[in-house]
């Protein structure tokens, strides 16, 4: 049942560029799609292990910069030595971006072992800030605020056609969709396994988790690495589709966007970041021209506060709860309608 719904939704989404080939719409949806991959990655850490990372844009940015720099090639002098890196094939660069982001995820996961709660949150923020300052100031490597430009697009080998560059709006859209499906499946399978159960045990009751032999720190690190890796993939996707990146990708506000998506949709659910991501990814477009960007951000902030006050669990769990209650009521009405006699006998 769930599998069928999943395939139908994916198939319908895949048909979108055919049914509605509006390039502007496709680019808007693709941009939102990249943020949804990022939100899915944040949910891995926030939703399942319960650790709030407010530096998630750092993994996104590290993935983007690593992938862009490797595909462009760079030379930089380090401690007096000149390091020259020739441009690498774009997919090699992309995978390296994921690996480097994952390596930083390992580092942050290790740190989370030492500090928790508010401390962990602030550490992750600081981490993102340091990364942003490096991107801004290490001009030899990153071009600083001048941005990295002309980043090559990702490629695809198609039998009969040879290698093509994925530059058209539809190609970008399909690429982003594929990344979303892949990220979703990886997270779904991760969560519905012994690994996911261990992470959720840590979130729900760390003391109890330890008592039944779950080495919680190991799982925290595993989830941190996977979360950072997926965020790095989202960053790489961004770099090779937008094809220009600057240190802004590390901004706090991007992390906040991911957080709003996850919280609104429902943290710790598989569909949550997707639903929240669609809403908050497309909302700016709907509001564009209607209100000033500042007002739009104020609405964002207000919505965030209201959601946390009145629907802290998010849309998906609230909706599920409603469905469950409705079903229970229907079932009760059915039983109430049929055996009225039996009830009379009981009384």
């Amino acid at each position: 049942m769930n599998k069928i719904v999943f395939f139908v939704v994916v198939a319908l989404l895949a048909l979108l560029p055919v049914l509605w080939p509006d390039p502007y719409m496709l680019s808007v949806v693709s941009a939102a799609g990249i943020m949804i991959v990022a939100a899915i990655s944040l949910n891995v850490l926030l939703g399942f292990t319960g650790q709030l990372s407010l530096g998630h844009a750092a993994f996104f940015g590290i993935g983007a910069y690593t992938s862009a720099l490797l595909s462009l090639g760079f030379d930089v002098s380090l401690f007096g030595y000149l390091l020259v890196v020739d441009p690498k094939p774009v997919w090699v660069a992309f995978v390296s971006g994921i690996l480097v982001a994952a390596a930083f995820g390992w580092l942050i996961g290790k740190l989370a072992f030492r500090v928790r709660g508010a401390y962990f949150v602030i550490v992750t923020i600081c981490f993102a800030q340091v990364m942003r300052m490096v991107a801004l100031n290490w001009v030899d490597l990153t071009e600083g605020p001048m941005a990295l430009v002309s980043i090559p697009a990702l490629t695809l080998w198609i039998p009969g056609e040879g290698v093509i560059k994925l530059v058209s709006k539809s190609a970008t859209y399909w690429l982003v969709l594929a990344a979303n499906v892949l990220a979703y499946l990886i997270v779904a399978r991760l969560v519905l396994s012994r690994f996911g159960r261990a992470a959720i045990a840590l979130r729900e009751n760390e003391t109890l988790a330890k008592s039944i032999g779950i080495p919680v720190t190991r799982y925290l690190i595993v989830f941190s690495v996977i979360s950072a890796g997926i965020a790095g993939a989202a960053g790489g996707l961004y770099a090779h589709t937008v094809r220009i990146i600057d240190p802004e990708v590390f901004m706090f506000i991007y992390t906040i966007t991911m957080v709003i998506m996850v919280i609104a949709g429902g943290k710790g659910t598989l569909a949550g970041p997707v639903i929240g991501g669609i809403i908050f990814g497309l909302l700016p477009e709907l509001l564009r021209g209607v209100v000033a960007p500042e007002v739009q951000w104020m609405l964002y902030g207000a919505l965030m506060v209201l959601l946390l006050l009145f629907m802290p669990k998010g849309i998906v769990p609230t909706f599920n709860g409603l469905v469950r209650r409705l079903r229970a009521r229907l079932a009760r009405e059915k039983t109430a309608a049929a055996p009225a006699k039996a009830r009379g006998a009981n009384a």
């Binding site: 709030l52 740190l111 030492r114 500090v115 928790r116 709660g117 508010a118 401390y119 949150v121 602030i122 550490v123 923020i125 600081c126 981490f127 800030q129 340091v130 300052m133 490096v134 801004l136 100031n137 706090f252 506000i253 906040i256 957080v259 919280i263 000033a292 500042e294 007002v295 951000w297 104020m298 964002y300 902030g301 207000a302 919505l303 965030m304 506060v305 946390l308 006050l309 802290p312």
Partner: protein
């Protein structure tokens, strides 16, 4: 050597204002367990009040600092009363996110109201620096330092000597026990948040003629306040004062001897290092993990 002394003087001036900023934040965390991301926005609020009063209405700078403090007090009380009181303050992450929402709202309100261009607040003091033994110090900065020290002492007296301070310290130690002995925890929360906000606003107003006033100033101020508080240990008031001076020294000497470009990064780097080596903070006596 002169260079070195100059850095020390600069660090002392900057540190005194950082201490004010950090103490407000750590007070709120220590008593209410609220990680106040909007703290920097109250700092920006104070700076804008000062700008509006001095540059637009032609009021005197000293009066503007006083008024900024009072408005900060009111705004803080309003935030606590209208927003924080509605959430149960149980889930620290949720409250943190609510404060981030507030931060976004305030920052963009400033942007909407005043635009993105930085504003300059004229100083009432002479522009020429005072020179003592080869060390330069502008009269404005000297005033800022003196005012900050006076405020720090006033704050110390409130906490250590007043009945309000006693109730605050009791709540800090044990909220439930304080309730039992008749402390009105609700109004302590309101007062705490108002006082912390007031200190942030005063700091912003004090520093308005020293730096420029811009909507993004709140972001960095929040993050620096966190750096200060982490260096001193979350919820540790004397630690926050020391943390303020420590961060100023790190930034001042770091930019003097290592790299100006990475000035702001050094503070964050310091936090990361402190977290790895001494998670409870540099000056913490007791371990407090949020």
């Amino acid at each position: 050597m002169d260079q070195f002394l100059q850095h020390i003087v600069n660090a002392l001036v900057l540190g005194s204002t950082y201490a004010l900023l950090g103490i407000g934040l750590t007070l709120i965390f220590g008593i209410m367990r609220v990680v106040n991301f909007a703290h920097g926005e109250l700092y920006a609020f104070g700076a804008y009040v000062s700008y509006a009063l001095v540059s637009l209405l032609g009021l005197n700078y000293f009066g503007s600092v006083l008024l900024a403090g009072m408005l900060g007090l009111l705004l803080g009380a309003a935030i606590e009363f209208l927003l924080l009181r509605r959430c149960k303050l149980e889930n620290i992450d949720e409250v943190m996110l609510i404060m981030i929402g507030l931060m976004i709202i305030m920052q963009n309100a400033e942007l909407l109201l005043w635009g993105g261009v930085a504003k300059v607040v004229p100083t009432p003091f002479a522009q020429e620096s005072i020179t003592i033994g080869g060390i330069y110090l502008s009269p404005t900065r000297l005033f800022v330092f003196c005012a900050a020290v006076v405020l720090l002492i006033a704050f110390y007296l409130i906490i250590e000597r007043s009945r309000l301070g006693l109730a605050m310290r009791a709540t800090f130690q044990d909220r439930d026990a304080a309730k039992i002995v008749g402390v009105n925890v609700g109004s302590i929360y309101t007062l705490t948040f108002a006082l912390g906000s007031c200190m942030a606003a005063v700091t912003g107003a004090l520093l308005a003629p020293v730096f420029v006033v811009a909507p993004t100033m709140g972001d960095l101020a929040s993050l620096k306040a966190f750096a200060i508080v982490i260096l001193g240990g979350l919820g540790n008031i004397p630690g926050a004062a020391l943390g303020g001076f420590a961060l100023a020294a790190i930034e001042e000497f770091g930019s003097g001897y290592i790299s100006t470009a990475y000035r702001d990064a050094l503070g964050f780097l310091a936090i990361l290092i402190v977290m790895v080596i001494r998670p409870q903070g540099l000056f913490a006596i007791k371990e407090r993990v949020g």
